[in-house]
Each structure stands twice: as C-alpha cells, then as structure tokens.
C-alpha cells in the first residue's frame, strides 16, 4: 500500500518537542516498509526527514491530491488527520495527551494508549504541556491495528466505495 505519514505537529514557540509528536516513527516506518508498503512523508522544510520520499511545503490542494492518490495515511493529532477525515480517506491518528473524543473523528482509526495520559487542560496552549513518550502506544501495536484495518483492502478511498465493492 502507498501510505502518507504526517509525523509532526506544528513547531512550538519554545522550540521543545511537541507533546503530540509520536516518538517511534523510525520503528513504525521500518515495520511498514519491511511489509512492503511505500511510505511518503509530508511536512515542512525544517522537519526531520524520515523516509527518502519527503514532500515538503505542499499546498492544501497538492496535499489533498496526494492523499487521493494514495491508499491511506498515518499521522499525529494535527492538520493531516483533519484533512484525511475531510476528504473521506480513512487513516490512523496517533493520540497521546490530546483527547480523541474531542479532537478526533469517529471516521478515523484513533489510537490512544490510555486516557490516564490525557492532559488535564485539553484546551490550553501546548507550550504549557511536557512531552511524554509513554503516552503513546508502541509501533508494533500501531502496525497491528494497521494490518487489522487495511489488510486485504485494495483502496480505502472513499469509505462508501469500499462498502459498495
């Protein structure tokens, strides 16, 4: 499958690691690539490159077209998960301290390790929270969820077509 990843949330003013950022992208990408999937990273100039195919600074239109051409997406709780949902393309959103009940979409696969890691003040600035890698599920769990959801599916766009097919 061709998978778009949105690995990073918007850079914080403090320069610190964003608490929304998933800590085990290299491991997750390896699991996906070893299973034969093609991974395309999207993001901004200054972000760490994780795969050879890194599409930088795409416009919303370009990003939408890319998503439509691929099979699915995996991302943190940022713009990507909203865009995937808006376009009707099922994907996986990785949550840590933000609450998927509030910020997620039921049409997506929202993975939250435990509600005990949710920050108490969901609506405060992220600069007021600390990064915590323990808040996220491990990559093998994401991979397992990915397989359960997408294995044997040729194409996930849009959901309604899958149903008809």
């Amino acid at each position: 499958m061709k998978i778009v990843i949105f690995p990073f949330a918007k850079t914080m003013r403090t320069g610190k690691q964003h608490p929304k950022n998933y800590p085990w992208w290299p491991e997750l990408i390896k699991l996906l690539q070893d299973d034969g999937h093609e991974v395309i990273q999207v993001g901004l100039d200054h972000e760490t490159q994780l795969v050879p195919d890194f599409r930088k600074n795409l416009s919303i239109e370009q990003l939408s077209n890319l998503l439509k051409e691929t099979d699915t997406w995996i991302g943190v709780d940022s713009f990507g998960q909203h865009l995937g949902w808006y376009l009707g393309i099922k994907g996986i959103a990785l949550f840590g301290q933000s609450d998927p009940v509030i910020f997620g979409h039921v049409e997506n696969i929202n993975i939250l390790k435990s509600r005990k890691y949710l920050r108490e003040q969901q609506f405060w600035l992220w600069e007021q929270a600390e990064f915590n890698a323990d808040a996220f599920v491990k990559p093998d769990e994401v991979f397992e969820t990915f397989n359960k959801t997408f294995k044997n599916q040729e194409k996930t766009l849009p959901n309604v077509l899958n149903f008809i097919r």
Binding site: I60, F79, H82, Y86, V101, I102, Q122, W124
Partner: protein, 323 residues
C-alpha cells in the same frame, strides 16, 4: 442571584455632579442591591476621605446597600460597563456621573422588566428643556431624528436602541471594546446588540433622569479623531449586526472541522485565519471591529464550558445554537 447592580463610571466630576448622582441612586423608591463606582480619574481620590462622599457611603451602609469603588482602567467607560455587565447580577442600572435620576425612576423602569425584555430606558432631560417631536427610536433614523429619550416619554414604546442611562439585562450582550476611550455610541451599539439577540427594548413614561451636562470631565475634552474612529467602528458594526459573527482565530485543522458546520450557520459574517479553507475577512479586522474576540475563540469557550464532546459540536454550540 442578586437582582440589581447600579454602575456609575466617573471622571473629572468629584466636585460637580458625582455626589448628586450617587445621592439620587441611593434614595430611590426601588432599592438597588449594590452600587459600583468606577473611578477613571487621572488622580483618583479615596472617597472616604471626602466628607460629603463619606456621608453618602455611610448612608448606603445604613440602608443596606452594598458599595464598591474600583479604580478604572482609564480605557473608557465601556470597559467599566463591561465589568459591571459580567459581575453576576441579573440587571444593571447604568447611570452617568452627570445624571440625576428622580426618586422613582428605577421603580418605574423596573415595572416594565420581563422575560423578553433586554433593556428599559426613560427620559434623559437636559435643562433648558426643549421638546422633541416625532422621534421613533429606530436605528435607521439615528442620524435624522433627535433621540426619543430627550423628551418626556408619554407612553411605553418599543425602540431599537437606548441612550445614556437605562436598566439592562446583564451578561447577554458584550460592550464593544474596540471603541476608543471616548466610547462614542457605546450604548447604542450595546443596546441594539441586545435587540439583535432577541430581547425587546422599551422607553417608558415617568422614569426621568436629569442630565446635568457638564463641559468638564467625562469624554467631552477628548479629541475629534477618536470620535471619528468610534463613528467608523459603529457604522461598520451596524452593517453586520444582524449576522452571525464567526471569528476563526485557530488552527488549520480547526478550519476544516468548521467547514462541516458552516452550512448550518444562519447568515454568517466570517473572519478567518486561513481564507484558502474558509474565505473571510482578516482576524485583524475582527479585532478592529469588536475589540475583544475571545468570545469567538472556540478553544477559550471549550475551556470555559469544560467541554468533553467533539470540536465539531463545540463549533455548533458556539455558532449554530447561540441566540
């Protein structure tokens, strides 16, 4: 909940009309629960150290009227009114520091308060009295007629806006804080906003306030430029007052979520951070027109509501279900 807060905002009138206004307020036939005085003087005094004021404060103590003096922010009386508006009282009776209500003014205003009423005003008379004829109190006639309250009100009448001193339902509409410190038209914008939120405004008879217009103090020493600024803000606000104001001062993803809600919003006027997703006017324009835009910020509202539902439903609560 306590019912009536009286609010007086003062500047430069310690030695002229302020004490008359306070005395008139505390000697009403309908008692207020509390008097709050916002002191916007450049060199504020401790009223307890001035014998006349000390007597008035002691009179309130004796009558069981709570009182408080706050040193204002000197940003204009609209800032003070907004504080009074959000102090948790059901009704606020605003009285200017050069206004002297007759002994039964509040009682006669209060008679007309009801569940669908947003504000009630009476006559605001400036000596020497000159009668005003055929005024309607309609917003479209604002520039072509004298204010209806400048005459003896002969019968109860529904209007679009009120002037100077009136009693209003608190916590429903906000004062426009983008106005300058002269706060020109602040009460017109405020009361017309109450009407836009579905409440009726009335002028009523036998509720007279004497306006001892004083060239010293207040806003009359301020510059013409500020009046022009406020007139501009006023006109621009009037143009969109019947619309649902939407200010999307948030992230890119939030705009996408909002996009699903947009078709359900009645007559929206949109200010947007990301016009490529949600076309609209700039956030700076919203700040210039409304001053405080926090009330439109979905995150601030969700925090206030202790929200536990989806972001989409928060947008619905803010913009679709609102009055």
């Amino acid at each position: 909940m306590k019912e009536i807060l009286c609010s007086i905002s003062t500047r430069g009138r310690y030695d002229t009309t302020l004490s008359l206004a306070i005395q008139a307020v505390i000697n009403q036939t309908k008692k207020i629960d509390k008097l709050i005085i916002f002191d916007d003087n450049d060199n504020p005094k401790d009223l307890r150290e001035i014998q006349m004021y000390m007597y008035l404060l002691q009179t309130m103590d004796a009558k069981g009227i709570e009182w408080e003096v706050l040193f204002g922010q000197k940003k204009g009386q609209h800032y003070n009114h907004q504080i009074a508006n959000t102090m948790g009282y059901e009704w606020v009776w605003r009285v200017d520091d050069d206004c002297v209500p007759e002994h039964n003014t509040l009682e006669n205003l209060w008679k007309h308060v009801g569940p669908d009423v947003g504000a009630v005003g009476g006559s605001i008379l400036t000596p020497p009295f000159a009668p005003v004829e055929n005024s309607t109190g309609k917003i479209e006639n604002l520039n072509s007629e004298p204010n209806i309250q400048w005459d003896f009100i002969k019968q109860k009448q529904e209007v679009d806006h009120l002037h100077c001193s009136f009693i209003y339902r608190a916590g429903i509409n906000d004062y426009n804080l983008s106005l300058s410190r002269v706060a020109h038209r602040e009460e017109t914008l405020f009361t017309y906003g109450l009407k836009q939120k579905g409440y009726k405004l009335f002028v009523v008879p036998n509720a007279i306030t004497w306006h001892y217009r004083n060239q010293q103090g207040g806003i009359r020493t301020e510059t013409e430029e500020l009046f022009h600024h406020d007139e501009y803000v006023f006109r621009k606000n009037l143009e969109i007052m019947d619309k649902t104001i939407v200010v999307l001062d948030s992230g890119l993803g939030d705009h996408l979520v909002f996009k699903k809600v947009l078709p359900d919003i009645k007559n929206p006027e949109i200010f947007s951070c990301w016009p490529e997703i949600i076309p609209g006017r700039s956030i700076q324009e919203a700040k210039d027109l409304f001053g405080d835009i926090d009330k439109y910020n979905v995150y601030i509202q969700m925090d206030k509501w202790k929200w536990q539902d989806s972001l989409e439903n928060a947008f619905r609560k803010l913009y679709v279900e609102k009055l």
